[in-house]
């Protein structure tokens, strides 16, 4: 079950985790990208938390605020994809004050769909989409969210060891990326430690 109160506590926990992981996220991105992933995640979550007092019982409205926070603070791919995802999630949840399990699964499905569409990526390209996909699969027969998030994001990292990253500038490094985690997937996994 997800409601305003739970959402607030999630974002508080995520923010703390983003603070302590700031350098490691930047470093992970810096190995193949421009090293701003920590910045993107931290600034986005900070902005959400700055606006958390505006949260209402309307979960659609809350996700809209979250989307605006990421739109405002992030100019990198990750932040933009999250912003688009939050926007579409917000449309689905308009007027709702509580999400049941089905609706929670739908939140992740919406995010996945948005990312694949906006990011012009496919599953298997070794991006956050692949982590989300695994989360969705596992959620189908497990309602222990914390456990699902942790195991799914971890398994995603393992599944893609030895595979090349096929998007963004990471692509340029070819085989080098086989040995590296995708920074976005790495960050998602670390963030689940918050729960």
């Amino acid at each position: 079950m997800l409601n305003k109160k739970i959402l607030i506590s999630i974002f508080e926990k995520l923010l703390n985790k983003a603070k302590s992981s700031y350098d490691s996220f930047n470093a992970a991105d810096g190995q193949i990208g421009d090293g701003d992933l920590g910045v993107t995640i931290l600034h986005g979550l900070e902005e959400i938390n700055n606006n958390i007092s505006k949260f209402t019982d309307d979960m659609g409205f809350n996700f809209k605020l979250c989307s605006q926070a990421f739109v405002k603070k992030s100019g990198s791919s990750f932040g933009t994809l999250i912003a688009f995802s939050f926007m579409n999630i917000s449309k689905n949840l308009k007027g709702k004050s509580e999400c049941n399990h089905e609706e929670i699964v739908n939140i992740f499905e919406t995010a996945l769909k948005t990312i694949l569409e906006r990011g012009k990526t496919n599953l298997g390209d070794k991006t956050i989409a692949d982590s989300l996909n695994l989360i969705i699969n596992k959620l189908k027969d497990n309602q222990n969210y914390s456990e699902v998030f942790k195991t799914a994001t971890k398994q995603a990292l393992q599944d893609f060891k030895g595979k090349k990253i096929k998007i963004g500038r990471a692509r340029m490094f070819e085989d080098k990326t086989k040995d590296l985690d995708d920074p976005g997937m790495f960050a998602l996994n670390r963030l689940t430690e918050a729960f």
Binding site: G30, I32, G33, D34, K72, G75, G79, T80, R118, M172
Partner: protein, 331 residues
């Protein structure tokens, strides 16, 4: 950190305010958004040309606003894409009924945000088309040309798109010429030292004293290959060869070149580079009609340079050389 700045958090705001204050005849803030710069005098009856992208690359992007160049620009934070809202504002400001051409570099965040902004403004009735500049031959193979990043070659696309738009050409014709330019440009660069992000206060990457990076990105991201530093001539020969392997030219073909400093690399070194580029092309009987040497697309104080080749014939040549008014361009 040895930067002449105030609060790092105001770096972008203050630098564009300085730009507008310094050249009030050329640039203006958009009325609705302090992160959008437009021409000081709005044109009528022409296709608007819009760009946008991260800060820290001056004169790219905002600098190229001006008669015969761009109409508006959405200004992101340092090395970060502008937001959808900022881009949408730039599009609205640039439109005056004939539609808007967006010209941007191929970076994930920028591409996604422009796409979204075009959808939003499209729903408001503004016709847009987009050219995604992809000139960096180091960033993807020729088979995956569409995935290449946009770097210094982008300015040539701004120039010809801006020039044809100024004649009152249609959105379709403007788009076609800009696309042709995009396909006629190849760039490759090297970085020899990193830059410092104002907020981070430390270098974007480490590079040892005897190494260089081939194919560096203008966001301070690592290049495709780290090599021992070489003398200028063999380095330039290598870069020219990569460009010519990618883009076959024939005897008597006409080109323009741009030797662009990433920031710290001085003009003297650009001219040492240019000398060798001229010698190489002369041997192949390829005609360099014009050389643009200087700081056109930078990464703050990064040291390094890029070589851009622009094959010009017909309209491309005509519009490259047509008059424009922009503080960072001499006709």
């Amino acid at each position: 950190m040895k930067k002449i700045i105030n609060d790092p958090g105001n770096f972008v705001e203050e630098s564009i305010e300085g730009l507008v204050k310094s050249h009030p005849d050329i640039y203006s803030f958009a009325k609705d958004n302090r992160r959008v710069i437009t021409r000081a005098t709005k044109e009528k009856n022409k296709v608007g040309i819009v760009t946008g992208g991260g800060s820290g690359h001056l004169p790219v992007f905002t600098g190229y606003i001006g008669k015969g160049f761009l109409d508006a620009c959405a200004v992101g934070s340092v090395f970060a894409s502008p937001s959808v809202e900022q881009i949408a504002s730039a599009i609205r400001n640039a439109d005056n009924g004939k539609g808007v051409l967006c010209v941007l570099g191929n970076y994930g965040g920028d591409v996604m945000n422009f796409e979204m902004a075009c959808e939003i403004t499209g729903s408001e009735g503004i016709k847009t088309k987009t050219v995604i500049v992809a000139d960096d031959i180091a960033s993807a193979s020729i088979e995956e040309k569409l995935k290449r990043r946009g770097i210094a070659g982008m300015i040539f696309v701004f120039k010809v798109a801006g020039a044809i738009a100024e004649t009152g050409a249609s959105l379709e014709d403007t788009f076609n010429l800009a696309s042709l330019a995009n396909n006629s440009i190849r760039t490759i660069g090297v970085a020899v030292s990193p830059c410092i992000l104002p907020e981070a206060g430390k270098p974007t990457f480490e590079i040892s004293d005897d190494e260089i990076e081939i194919g560096m990105g203008i966001h301070g991201e690592p290049g495709i290959k780290r090599e021992k530093i070489r003398k200028a001539d063999p380095l330039v020969d290598d870069l020219c060869k990569r460009i010519l392997d990618d883009f076959r030219l024939k005897s008597n073909d006409e080109i323009a070149i741009m030797i662009n400093s990433l920031g710290a690399t001085p003009l003297e070194e650009l001219y040492i580079t240019s000398k060798r580029v001229h010698e190489n092309f002369l041997k192949l009987n390829i005609k360099i009609i014009k050389s643009y040497i200087g700081r056109y697309a930078t990464s703050m104080e990064m040291a390094g340079m890029s070589i851009t080749l622009f094959k010009i014939d017909g309209d491309l040549k005509k519009y490259l050389f047509s008059k424009s008014e922009c503080p960072f361009w001499t006709n």
